[in-house]
Structure formats: structure tokens, C-alpha cells
């Protein structure tokens, strides 16, 4: 009667069992795990190459047990293009923050998406530059105070937060574009599914997939983790709507 029990939950194989350097309440660790679970789900750890960006996520190679190339600030989609064109049968993903992807790297992300590069982009939007100390990002919300918008983001001067998922979804080259959050169990489960689907698109060689993940940055928002999590719900999601903006499979 001693049937071997099926293991239904464990530490992802693709994720190293180490402590992260992230601040308390930061959601990078959670998002890393979801990405690792997706890689494990498709059994592609041994043929996955990550492209790290500049910012808090630069230490990708310290957490993922995969091959990693480090890209200059904003250039991860161009670097990943070079990697994927050489290794067409590998799984290539970039992991970028909002300053990296939506400011200095706007050109690279739009054109990689437009070329329909068969890669996956994980875009972590926490409305601020985390590593450099909480400056205003292209995604900083109207009125949000940061160290470079001390009076609050004035849209008349600073412009508007960019909705990258919506922007990319209108490009013919994109196959799958979605936005998720990890601030509640429900959203977390959905985020896991969406990230898995984004990798599925690449595993099936169907095209460019993009997942924007709303994330909390308690340290730079000057909030405790719980309050920061609430802010994702009360301020971010009303502006950055969750959902799937493009899915060529319907």
C-alpha cells in the first residue's frame, strides 16, 4: 500500500536555492520564481539562455541556474536578438525593469517586438528606478513623488506613464502580450499561468511574447511591504489594467 507520493510542490530546479539581495517586500524574487517555474514546466532549463538588464535585476545569473548574458542598459532585446539568431533552438528571454525597457531601451524593445523575434520578455514595472535610488521612471504615475519628481509627477512637464503592453500589442510582430500583477494570491496564480503561456509561445516557436508584471518597490516608495502591496491594487492596476492585450492564438 506504500504508493510513492507524487511531489506537487518544490523549489524550482531552474532557480538556485540562495537568498536574494532584494529588499524586504520586493517582488522580484516572486517573479523570478514564476519564470523559473515556467522554465521547469517545459523542461527547458538546459537549453535556456537569459539576458540580464541593468538595474536590480542585473544579478539574474546569481539566481537562475542557466546560462546568462549581461546586456548594457536598455539593450537586452538587441543582445537577445543576437543570441536567438545564433541559437535558434534555444529558449531566450530578457528580464528588464521599467527604466531599462521603457526609457533608455524603448527603441530596442519596439524593434525586437516588431521584428517578431522569437523570444520572451519579462518586463517588471514598479513605477520607479529601483537600483539607482527611486528616481522618476517612464511608468511613474501622475502625482507620484520620487527623488526626481519631489513635487509629484506633473504630466504637463514630465509627460504620462507609458503603457508598454498596450503599445507593443498593436505591433504586427508581437504574438502574445499581457499584463499581470503578483500582489494577491489570485493575481499571482494568474501571473504564473500567463508567464507559462509566454514561454509556451517560444517553445512552440510562434513568435515574440511579452509579459508586463506590476511589482512593488516598498523601499523606494517609502512604504512597508503591506502598504506597497495595497498600492499596486489601488493605484497601479487602475492605470495599468491587467489582461491579455494580444494573443494570436485567440
Amino acid at each position: 500500500m506504500n504508493e510513492p507520493m507524487e511531489k506537487v510542490f518544490g523549489h524550482p530546479v531552474s532557480l538556485k536555492n540562495v537568498q536574494t539581495h532584494f529588499c524586504p517586500g520586493c517582488q522580484h524574487g516572486t517573479i523570478h520564481r514564476l519564470v523559473a517555474e515556467a522554465i521547469d514546466h517545459f523542461g527547458v532549463q538546459q537549453r535556456t539562455i537569459g539576458v540580464a538588464s541593468v538595474g536590480c535585476s542585473v544579478f539574474l545569473y546569481g539566481y537562475f541556474d542557466i546560462d546568462v548574458v549581461e546586456a548594457p542598459h536598455g539593450r537586452a532585446p538587441a543582445v537577445a536578438t543576437g543570441v536567438k539568431r545564433v541559437h535558434q533552438d534555444r529558449i531566450v528571454f530578457t528580464y528588464q525593469g521599467d527604466g531599462d525597457l521603457a526609457a533608455i531601451g524603448t527603441s530596442e524593445i519596439i524593434h525586437a517586438a516588431n521584428r517578431g523575434e522569437k523570444m520572451t520578455v519579462i518586463f517588471v514595472n514598479n513605477t520607479t528606478y529601483g537600483m539607482t535610488g527611486g528616481q522618476m521612471a517612464p511608468t511613474t504615475l501622475p502625482g507620484q513623488r520620487t527623488v526626481t519628481s519631489p513635487y509629484g509627477r506633473d504630466v504637463g512637464v514630465d509627460g504620462y506613464p507609458i503603457r508598454m503592453a498596450e503599445l507593443l500589442s498593436v505591433l504586427e510582430g508581437t504574438a502574445y502580450v499581457a499584463r499581470v500583477a503578483v500582489n494577491s494570491p489570485k493575481n499571482l496564480l494568474q501571473a504564473g499561468k500567463v508567464i507559462r503561456r509566454a514561454f509556451e509561445y517560444q517553445v512552440e516557436n510562434r513568435g515574440f511574447s511579452f509579459v508586463e508584471v506590476l511589482s512593488a518597490c516598498p523601499t523606494n516608495w517609502g512604504m512597508n511591504p503591506l502598504k506597497a502591496n495595497e498600492r499596486v491594487e489601488s493605484e497601479m492596476i487602475p492605470y495599468f489594467h491587467l489582461g491579455t492585450f494580444k494573443d494570436i492564438a485567440g
Binding site: 532549463q45 538546459q46 537549453r47 535556456t48 539562455i49 539576458v51 540580464a52 542585473v58 545569473y61 541556474d65 542557466i66 546560462d67 546568462v68 548574458v69 549581461e70 546586456a71 548594457p72 539593450r75 538587441a78 543582445v79 537577445a80 536578438t81 543576437g82 543570441v83 536567438k84 539568431r85 545564433v86 541559437h87 534555444r90 529558449i91 527603441s107 530596442e108 519596439i110 524593434h111 521584428r115
Partner: protein, 340 residues
């Protein structure tokens, strides 16, 4: 052609005069060979695509001209820091700014002294003929792979647009170190491959930089290339690189016909610079005339390399339409400094 002969199958570039013949040729030839040609959205993207392809273990290249090369400096610094090989062709035009599309040697400093941030070097090769464009392209790939230092082929619109006979020697691949550092996906390996230029550990970055500089020292010891013409009895040594050396050669043969004992020392590798060759030749001949199509750049390296008692003269004009010197113009300079 040299690149394709050398097995380069990845080209990433962006249109800019006067080098657009290269992407045009590559866009036609590479797909036929199963290679990849991408016209990138910018010079910045193309150098980073090269970074990615190179990190993946492929032999790749990009090409551009001066303003575009300025945009590539960030990527070049990252490639240098990440020890990634690759060939960058710079068919120089005149500057600063938008400048003009005429032949120029105004980017010697940018090419030889680092260009981007962080105190690195590129291997810099200066062809003075179509044959050398071909041969040095191949050499550039091989040296770059051997030392894991990006290589730049520095030409100008005269060399870049020149039509002349070429013998496309078949490529004989030298024995090169395996690219066991490249990312491929772990594929069952226990250790990760990480290509990066960030080193935050205590003393880590300094050690990394010393290692890079050790390679630059090895390049200086082993890979200097130059051409010497009529140096044995020379009373005046002319030095010039690239297309200017080509014109200087004509001027020197004119001078020889006049009975003037003039020789040429033409650096082919601008980095590593032929320091020892200059020291050796100026141990005997104390007069040097450096000719450049700029207001004086390589002449600084010449002055640092010659013996202390040698006189280094300079003749050059800032680049721009009509500033390419004629052989007669250079002959006049040769006569002037020969007498001194």
C-alpha cells in the same frame, strides 16, 4: 568578402555613407550561405546584436562610419569588458558632428585610445589597399578570437570605395582557442556560462582589468604589424597609415627619383602600435615626417615611440572636401624636411 571567407555568418548594421556597400553586399550574400543579416534600428542595436551573437560563440561583425561608430562606443566598451571577440569596420568620414562624407583619419584617437568608457583597447588594423581590406578582415577575426578583444578595421572612403585587383586567398583557419566561455544553454553542463562585465566583489574588477591589460601587453609583444619601405639608407622616414600611406608611397618614389633617400614606415596595426620599429629606425635616422589626414593624432604615438633625439615633423590637414593631399604636395613636404 574577406569576412565571408573567414566564416563570418552574422552581420548586424545600419545604413550610413560611405560604408553602405558592406551591408548591401552582406544582405545579398549571407542569406544564400545560411547566415544572418539584420538591418538594425540603430547603430546601438547593431553593436548589441553583435554582442549577443558573439556571446553565443558565433563569428560576427558590424560596420559603420564615424558618427555611427560614436553610437557604438557603449557596446564596444561592454564587449571589451566582457572579453567578446567581433569585427567592427569603420569606414571613416570627416567630422566632428555630421561633418562630411569625405575621406578622413580624424578618428584615430577614438579607435586607438579606447573610444568608450573604462580604459580598454581594441585591436585596430589600418588597410591601405583593397587586398589589405580583405586580408586584414580575416586577420581581424582571427586575432579577435585568439585574444578575445574586439577588432576594428579602420579605413576611409578612399579605401572603402576603391576598386582594384584582389586575390581572394582561401581562408586557412589557424588553431584558435575553443570558445568554451560562450552561452549555449547548459546542455547538461553543471556550471553556468555567464558573459558579463560587472564585477562588484572586493578586488574583482581590478584583477579583471589587469588581466585585460595583460592581453594588451601580449598583443604588443606578438601582434605588431607594419610595412617598411626603403628604410635601410633613409635620411628621412615618412610615416602614414591607410590611404595617406598610399599617397605617401607615390611621393616617396618621386623623391627617390630625385635622389632623396626617403623611406616609409607604415603602421598596419595602430593598436598594438609599432613602437619598437620606430625606436629601431630612429636609432639611426633622426628625421621623421608623419603625414595624416587630420590635424595630428597618430603623430603623438610616433613621438612617444622614437628615440629622444629624433625630430618628428607633422604634415596634415583636417578632413573635408578637397583636403586629400596630392603626391606633389607630399613631395614638397618631403623636400622641406629632408633639408632641415
Amino acid at each position: 568578402m574577406g569576412a565571408i571567407a573567414a566564416g563570418c555568418r552574422y552581420y548586424f548594421g545600419y545604413p550610413i555613407t560611405p560604408q553602405s556597400d558592406i551591408p548591401e553586399y552582406m544582405s545579398r550574400e549571407l542569406p544564400r550561405l545560411g547566415g544572418v543579416f539584420i538591418q538594425a534600428e540603430s547603430e546601438i542595436a547593431s553593436i548589441n546584436m553583435l554582442l549577443g551573437a558573439s556571446a553565443s560563440g558565433a563569428r560576427g561583425m558590424t560596420s559603420s562610419s564615424s558618427p555611427g561608430i560614436s553610437l557604438k562606443q557603449e557596446g564596444l566598451s561592454y564587449m571589451a569588458g566582457s572579453e567578446l571577440p567581433g569585427l567592427i569596420v569603420n569606414i571613416c568620414r570627416s567630422g566632428p558632428g555630421l561633418g562630411g562624407i569625405d575621406a578622413s583619419q580624424g578618428d584615430y584617437f577614438q579607435s586607438v585610445k579606447g573610444g568608450g568608457h573604462g580604459g580598454y583597447h581594441l585591436i585596430v588594423l589600418a588597410p591601405h589597399s583593397v587586398q589589405e581590406m580583405y586580408d586584414l578582415t580575416i586577420l581581424g577575426f582571427d586575432l579577435s578570437d585568439r585574444y578575445r578583444v574586439p577588432a576594428m578595421l579602420l579605413g576611409d572612403s578612399v579605401i572603402g570605395q576603391m576598386k582594384e585587383a584582389l586575390v581572394p586567398h582561401p581562408y586557412e583557419a589557424p588553431e584558435l582557442p575553443a570558445k568554451d566561455w560562450a552561452v549555449t544553454g547548459k546542455g547538461g553542463r553543471s556550471e553556468q556560462k555567464i558573459v558579463k562585465s560587472l564585477f562588484l566583489g572586493d578586488g574583482e574588477l581590478e584583477a579583471h582589468n589587469w588581466r585585460l591589460h595583460d592581453k594588451y601587453r601580449l598583443l604588443k609583444e606578438n601582434e605588431v604589424r607594419y610595412e617598411g619601405v626603403d628604410l635601410d639608407d633613409a635620411e628621412l622616414v615618412v610615416t602614414a597609415f591607410g590611404s595617406t600611406a598610399r599617397i605617401a608611397k607615390t611621393a616617396i618614389s618621386m623623391a627617390r627619383r630625385e635622389g632623396l633617400k626617403v623611406g616609409l614606415l607604415r603602421p598596419i596595426t595602430l593598436f598594438p602600435f609599432p613602437e619598437k620599429a620606430f625606436a629601431a629606425v630612429t636609432a639611426r635616422c633622426k628625421r621623421v615626417l608623419c603625414i595624416e589626414l587630420n590635424a595630428g593624432q597618430m603623430v603623438e604615438d610616433v613621438r612617444l615611440s622614437v628615440t629622444r633625439d629624433a625630430d618628428v615633423h607633422f604634415y596634415g590637414r583636417p578632413p573635408g572636401a578637397g583636403s586629400l593631399p596630392t603626391p606633389e604636395e607630399l613631395l614638397e613636404q618631403i623636400r622641406k624636411y629632408y633639408k632641415d
